[in-house]
C-alpha cells in the first residue's frame, strides 16, 4: 500500500512538473501568439465572416459570395494563371536550386563566391528589376531588337503570351540563390560517413545522390516548398509594376484581382476568393506534407 501511495505521488509530481513546464512554454509563446492572433488569426476570422455576409453590411448570405466568385471569369482566369505559374515555377525552382546547391557543395574552395553570386538577385530592389525587364523585354528593348535582327520582326514580350515566361524567368532568377542556400544547409546535415560507406560498397555518385542525398533532404524539401510557394505570391510586385492593374492576360494573377476588388470595394468577393485560396493552398501543403511523410 505504501509503495502504491509512493508511486502515485511520484506520478502526481511528474504530472505537476509537466503541467508547470507546459504552462511555462505557453507563457513564453504568449506574446508571439498574441501578435499572430491580432495580426493574422483575428483578421482572417473577419475575412471568413465577411465572405458569408453581404457587402459592407452584416446580412448573412450563405455561400452566395463563393458561387459568385467561382462563376467570375476574372477569378477563374487569375486562378488558372496562378496555378499554372506555381506548377511550372516551383518544381523548376526546387530542381534547379538543388542542382546548384549540390554543385556548389562539391566545389572545393571559392564556393562562397558562387553562393554570393546566386544571392545577389535577392538584394536587387524590385523597382530596379522592373527597369531591367523593360530594358530587356520592351517592344523596343534588347531582345526585341535582337529578334528584329534575326527575323525582321519585333516582339512585344510583355503584351503577348510570352509575358508569363518572363515572369517565370524572373522568379527563378530571384529565388534560386535563396533556395540553394537552404539546400546547402540540408546537404551539410547529411553525415559524410554515409557517402563513405556507400562508396566502399561500390555506389557511384548518381546512386549516392538518389539513395542517400535525396532521402535525407525530405525534411528540408518541405520547408523549401512552403517558402517557394510563399515567394511565388511575391512575384505580383514585378507584374504590377510592369503591367499595372490590368497586365497581359497571361500575367493576370489572383493578386491583381484581389487588388482590383479591394479598390472597387468588392469586399465580399475579395473575402470569398481569399478563403478559397487559403483552403486550396492549405490542402496543397497538407497533401505535400503527407506525401513526404508517406514516402518516409
Amino acid at each position: 500500500m505504501k509503495m502504491l501511495l509512493k508511486k502515485s505521488r511520484k506520478n502526481q509530481n511528474y504530472i505537476c512538473r509537466n503541467n508547470k513546464k507546459s504552462l511555462t512554454g505557453w507563457l513564453f509563446i504568449l506574446p508571439s501568439l498574441a501578435g499572430v492572433s491580432i495580426f493574422y488569426l483575428i483578421p482572417f476570422a473577419d475575412v471568413v465572416k465577411r465572405s458569408v455576409t453581404e457587402g459592407m453590411g452584416s446580412e448573412f448570405v450563405g455561400l452566395r459570395n463563393y458561387t459568385t466568385v467561382l462563376e467570375n471569369e476574372a477569378f477563374l482566369l487569375a486562378a488558372k494563371n496562378t496555378v499554372k505559374f506555381m506548377l511550372i515555377c516551383i518544381p523548376l525552382l526546387l530542381v534547379f536550386s538543388l542542382l546548384c546547391g549540390v554543385m556548389i557543395k562539391s566545389i572545393r574552395g571559392r564556393a562562397d563566391i558562387y553562393k554570393t553570386a546566386f544571392l545577389v538577385p535577392l538584394a536587387v530592389p524590385v523597382a530596379s528589376i522592373v527597369l531591367i525587364w523593360k530594358f530587356l523585354f520592351h517592344e523596343n528593348g534588347f531582345f526585341s531588337m535582337l529578334a528584329v535582327n534575326i527575323s525582321g520582326n519585333s516582339i512585344d514580350f510583355m503584351n503577348t503570351d510570352l509575358a508569363v515566361y518572363v515572369l517565370i524567368v524572373s522568379y527563378l532568377w530571384k529565388n534560386t540563390g535563396y533556395d540553394m542556400i537552404l539546400w546547402i544547409a540540408g546537404l551539410s546535415n547529411i553525415p559524410a560517413g554515409l557517402y563513405e560507406a556507400a562508396s566502399i560498397d561500390g555506389a557511384g555518385r548518381i546512386k549516392q545522390f538518389f539513395y542517400i542525398t535525396l532521402p535525407n533532404l525530405k525534411g528540408m524539401l518541405f520547408i523549401i516548398f512552403i517558402l517557394s510557394v510563399i515567394n511565388s505570391f511575391k512575384v505580383f510586385r514585378e507584374a504590377y509594376l510592369i503591367g499595372g492593374n490590368y497586365p497581359h492576360t497571361s500575367m493576370y494573377m489572383l493578386q491583381h484581382l484581389f487588388n482590383n476588388w479591394f479598390v472597387a470595394l468588392d469586399i465580399e468577393k475579395l473575402c470569398a476568393g481569399a478563403v478559397i485560396m487559403s483552403i486550396v493552398t492549405s490542402v496543397l501543403i497538407i497533401f505535400f506534407k503527407n506525401s513526404i511523410e508517406g514516402g518516409r
Binding site: L30, P31, M56, A74, Y246, T249, V263, A264, L265
Partner: protein
C-alpha cells in the same frame, strides 16, 4: 522560495502582455472627466464688422494704422463719389466721419488715384498716388499732409528703371514712425527714402515686392526661395533669413507690436517675434474665412488691443472686414470634427467648410485630400487607404466621390440616404432635377451631384445643323475639307474628347461592350482623324478657331468662370455660338462634386448640414470655377455676370497670336445658361475602358487592321476588366 520566484516571473510576464495589449487601444478611450476639464482654452474668433460690409454700397479702399494703435478704414461709396473713414481705437466701436479736406484736394490735383495712405509717429499723413496716363513713364507721386492739413508733394529721388514706359511704378509704401519711406517699385525692388524723398538705399533684389517694416528691420519676402530676408534699416545689412516652408506664395506680411511681424496665408496667421525665426501659428485659417477660396484677403493689421482686422474682397468687388478677437472662453480646438474626404483638392468643399465653420464655431471641418500633390501616393493607393478606413468603420464623415467608383460605393451600402435634403430643396424646385437625380434610385439619394460640367463646341451659327449628332458632325468634316472642325492631333485626343458624349452607348446593361455602337464610333473617329489637317494640339483650340484655322473649338466647360478664352475667340470672330458637343447621346452633362455621407458616421446631422450648405445659394453662387451650380438661383445669378465688367484678359497663343477682351456679356452667359437647363443625360467615361480603347485601336487608325479586328481586341482586353 523557488515557487515565489516562479510566481513573480509569471506575474511579470502576464503584466507585460497586458500592458502591450492595452497600449494598442484607441487613445480616445483615455479621455476622462479630468482630461476634459483640462482642455486647452482660448482662441481667436472671427466676427464680421457690419458697418464695413459692402451692403451699404461702399467698398473698402485703404486700411492704415496710426502710431497710437487707432485703425482707420477708408471706405469708398461709388454712387455718392465720396470716401468715409471708420476709425476704432478700442476695437469695439467704430467712429464714422467724412474724409478730411486734404483727401479731396489731392484727388482733384490731377488725374490721381490714391493707392496707399500711411502715418508717421508725428501725425503726418503720407499719400501714395497713381497718375493715370502718365506720359513720362513715372506713374506715382507721394504727398505729405502735415497735422495742420498742409499738403506737400515730396520731391522723390526716383530710381528709374530702364524701361521707357515704366520708369517708376510703385506697388506699395510703408512709413516708419520716424517718417522714413519704404517703397516697393516694380522692376526695382524695395527702396528706402527719407521723409524728404532722399534715396537711402535698396534692400534685396529687383524682384522683391512684398515687405513689412517693424522696429529697425525690414522684412522682404523672397518669392523664389520662399523665405524672408531681414535687413537692418540703419546698416542696410541682411541680418537673418526666416524659412517659410509649408506656406503658400499668396502670403502677406504685416507689422506687429514690439518688433514682431505677422505672416498671413490661407492656412492662418503666424507671428514672428523680434529677432526670432520661428513661426507661431496664432490663428488657424481653416477655422476662419481665410480658407474660403472665393474670398481674397488683404489689409491685415493689428489693433490697439491685440485684435486683428483682415479685409476681404470677392470677384464681384464686394468687400468686408473681419475682426479676430481672442476669446479665452472658447476651446482652442473646436469640440467637434467633421472629416471630409476628397481624392483631389476641391474649392467647393473649402468654400462649404468656411461657411459651416462661420455658422458653427464649435465645429472643425477637416478636409482630407487623398492626392495632395506633395507625396508619391498613387490614386490606387489613396483609394485603398480610404477603403481600408471604411472597412474598419473609421472612415470619413463625408466622401466627395469624384474620381471614385460611385456605383460601387452605392451598391455596397457605404452611403446614407440624403433624400430629406433633396426633398427640402425640391419643395420649391430650387435644384436642377436632371443633375440632382443622377444617382437617385427608388426615391433615395445616396449621392448628390452638386455641380456639373458640359462638353461644348463653339462654332458659327450657320453650322448649327451639323452639330446634332456624330453622323451629322462626320458629314460636316467630310464636306468641309479645307480645314479641320477643331484642333486634334492624335486618335487618343479624339476618343477622349468624344468619350463624354458617346461613352454611355458603349456599355450594355450586362456590362458588356456594345460592339455595334463602338464600331460606329471608331469608324466616325477614323473619318475625323483622316480630316485632321496639319494642325497640332499646340496650336490652341480656341486660338485656331479665333484665327480661322478651324470651324470651331471644343471645351469641357466647368462653369461660367471657365468661359474665358472661348469668349475672347468669339470677340475676335465677332460671332459664334456654344452648342452641346455632338455625339451618340444628346444633351450630355458630367456630374461633378458628387458628395455622399458615410453610413457609419457619428456626425450624421452636421454632415447633412454640410451637404445642405453645398447646395445653398451662398456656396453655389461663389465664383470658384469648379462647375455649374445645380441650385437654380445660383444658376440664374451666375448668368448675370456680376463683376465681369471689371475683368480684362490678354492671352498670348501660339506664335504671335494674341486674344484680349473682357469676360462674357450677359447675353452670352444667357445662351450657356439655356444649355444648362437642357442637360439630360449624365456621362462619366470610365478611364480604364477609355485607355483600353485608345491602346487597342491604334493599329486601326494607322490603317494596319480593320475596325472589326480592333473591336475584337478591345472586347478581349476589356473582358477581364468588365468581368471583375
Amino acid at each position: 522560495m523557488k515557487k515565489i520566484k516562479n510566481m513573480v516571473v509569471y506575474i511579470c510576464i502576464i503584466c507585460l502582455c497586458l500592458v502591450s495589449l492595452t497600449a494598442c487601444g484607441s487613445a480616445e478611450n483615455n479621455v476622462t472627466k479630468e482630461n476634459v476639464s483640462q482642455e486647452a482654452m482660448g482662441r481667436y474668433v472671427e466676427k464680421n464688422i457690419e458697418e464695413l460690409s459692402s451692403e451699404d454700397g461702399g467698398m473698402l479702399a485703404y486700411t492704415a494704422v496710426r502710431k497710437d494703435g487707432t485703425v482707420d478704414l477708408y471706405k469708398y461709396y461709388a454712387e455718392e463719389n465720396l470716401t468715409r473713414i471708420y476709425s476704432t481705437a478700442d476695437g469695439n466701436s467704430f467712429m464714422k466721419k467724412e474724409v478730411d479736406p486734404w483727401y479731396t484736394k489731392i484727388t482733384h490735383m490731377g488725374n490721381y488715384y490714391i493707392t496707399k495712405i500711411d502715418y508717421d509717429g508725428e501725425g503726418n499723413i503720407y499719400v501714395l498716388i497713381y497718375e493715370d496716363n502718365a506720359d513720362s513713364g513715372i506713374f506715382n507721386k507721394i504727398f505729405k499732409v502735415t497735422p495742420d492739413n498742409e499738403i506737400h508733394e515730396i520731391d522723390m529721388e526716383w530710381r528709374e528703371t530702364e524701361v521707357e514706359d515704366l520708369k517708376v511704378y510703385i506697388t506699395d509704401m510703408t512709413v516708419t514712425a520716424e517718417g522714413e519711406l519704404m517703397i516697393s517699385q516694380a522692376l526695382r525692388g524695395i527702396l528706402h527714402y527719407t521723409d524728404e524723398g532722399k534715396y537711402l538705399g535698396q534692400y534685396g533684389s529687383s524682384s522683391d515686392g512684398r515687405f513689412t517694416v517693424s522696429d529697425d528691420y525690414i522684412y522682404n519676402f523672397d518669392v523664389e526661395q520662399l523665405k524672408i530676408n531681414v535687413y537692418n534699416t540703419e546698416t542696410h545689412e541682411m541680418t537673418r533669413e526666416i524659412s517659410l516652408e509649408g506656406l503658400t506664395l499668396s502670403l502677406m506680411l504685416s507689422s506687429g507690436k514690439d518688433g514682431s511681424i505677422y505672416i498671413t496665408d490661407r492656412s492662418g496667421i503666424y507671428k514672428i517675434v523680434k529677432d526670432g525665426v520661428i513661426l507661431e501659428k496664432i490663428i488657424d485659417g481653416e477655422l476662419t474665412s481665410l480658407s474660403i477660396p472665393s474670398l481674397h484677403f488683404s489689409g491685415i493689421c493689428e489693433g490697439a488691443n491685440g485684435e486683428f482686422y483682415i479685409s476681404y474682397s470677392d470677384m464681384e468687388q464686394n468687400t468686408s472686414v473681419a475682426k479676430y478677437e481672442f476669446d479665452e472662453n472658447m476651446p482652442t480646438q473646436p469640440s467637434m470634427e467633421l472629416t471630409v474626404y476628397t481624392l483631389e483638392e476641391n474649392n467647393t468643399l473649402r468654400q462649404t467648410a468656411g461657411e459651416l465653420q462661420n455658422k458653427n464655431p464649435d465645429v472643425k471641418v477637416n478636409i482630407k485630400v487623398g492626392l495632395d500633390g506633395d507625396t508619391s501616393v498613387t490614386k490606387t493607393d489613396a483609394i485603398k487607404q480610404l477603403n481600408g478606413e471604411l472597412l474598419a468603420g473609421k472612415g470619413p464623415d463625408l466622401i466627395l466621390l469624384d474620381g471614385l467608383s460611385v456605383e460601387s460605393y452605392i451598391q455596397k451600402g457605404v452611403l446614407a440616404d440624403l433624400s430629406d435634403i433633396v426633398n427640402e430643396y425640391m419643395k420649391d424646385e430650387k435644384l436642377l432635377s436632371a443633375v440632382i437625380n443622377t444617382y437617385a434610385n427608388d426615391g433615395k439619394y445616396p449621392v448628390i451631384s452638386t455641380k456639373f460640367h458640359m462638353p461644348i463646341i463653339w462654332t458659327d451659327e450657320e453650322y448649327e445643323d451639323y452639330m446634332q449628332n456624330l453622323d451629322t458632325f462626320t458629314e460636316f468634316a467630310k464636306e468641309k475639307i479645307d480645314k479641320p472642325v477643331f484642333t486634334y492631333s492624335e486618335p487618343g485626343d479624339l476618343i477622349r474628347i468624344f468619350s463624354y458624349t458617346c461613352f454611355p452607348e458603349w456599355i450594355n446593361e450586362g456590362k458588356e461592350i456594345n460592339g455595334q455602337e463602338l464600331t460606329k464610333f471608331l469608324q466616325d473617329m477614323k473619318i475625323l482623324y483622316d480630316h485632321r489637317g496639319g494642325l497640332t494640339g499646340s496650336d490652341g483650340n480656341a486660338f485656331a478657331w479665333a484665327f480661322n484655322k478651324t470651324y470651331g473649338c471644343y471645351s469641357l466647360l466647368k462653369g461660367y468662370q471657365s468661359y474665358v478664352i472661348e469668349n475672347l475667340a468669339q470677340e475676335k470672330r465677332q460671332g459664334g455660338i456654344p452648342l452641346f458637343m455632338p455625339g451618340q447621346v444628346k444633351n450630355i452633362f458630367v456630374p461633378a462634386n458628387c458628395i455622399g455621407i458615410n453610413n457609419n458616421s457619428s456626425n450624421i446631422d452636421i454632415a447633412k448640414e454640410f451637404v445642405s450648405l453645398m447646395l445653398s445659394d451662398a456656396v453655389q453662387k461663389a465664383p470658384i470655377n469648379d462647375g455649374f451650380p445645380v441650385n437654380l438661383n445660383a444658376l440664374e445669378y451666375g448668368a448675370l455676370g456680376i463683376g465681369n465688367e471689371n475683368m480684362y484678359y490678354a492671352i498670348g497663343g501660339p506664335g504671335e497670336e494674341f486674344l484680349e477682351g473682357g469676360l462674357p456679356s450677359r447675353e452670352r452667359l444667357e445662351v450657356v445658361k439655356e444649355l444648362c437647363y437642357k442637360v439630360k443625360n449624365p456621362s462619366v467615361p470610365d478611364e480604364v475602358l477609355i485607355d483600353i480603347i485608345i491602346e487597342n485601336s491604334k493599329e486601326y487608325f494607322a490603317g494596319e487592321i480593320t475596325v472589326e479586328d480592333a473591336i475584337e481586341k478591345i472586347k478581349e482586353k476589356s473582358k477581364l476588366y468588365l468581368s471583375e
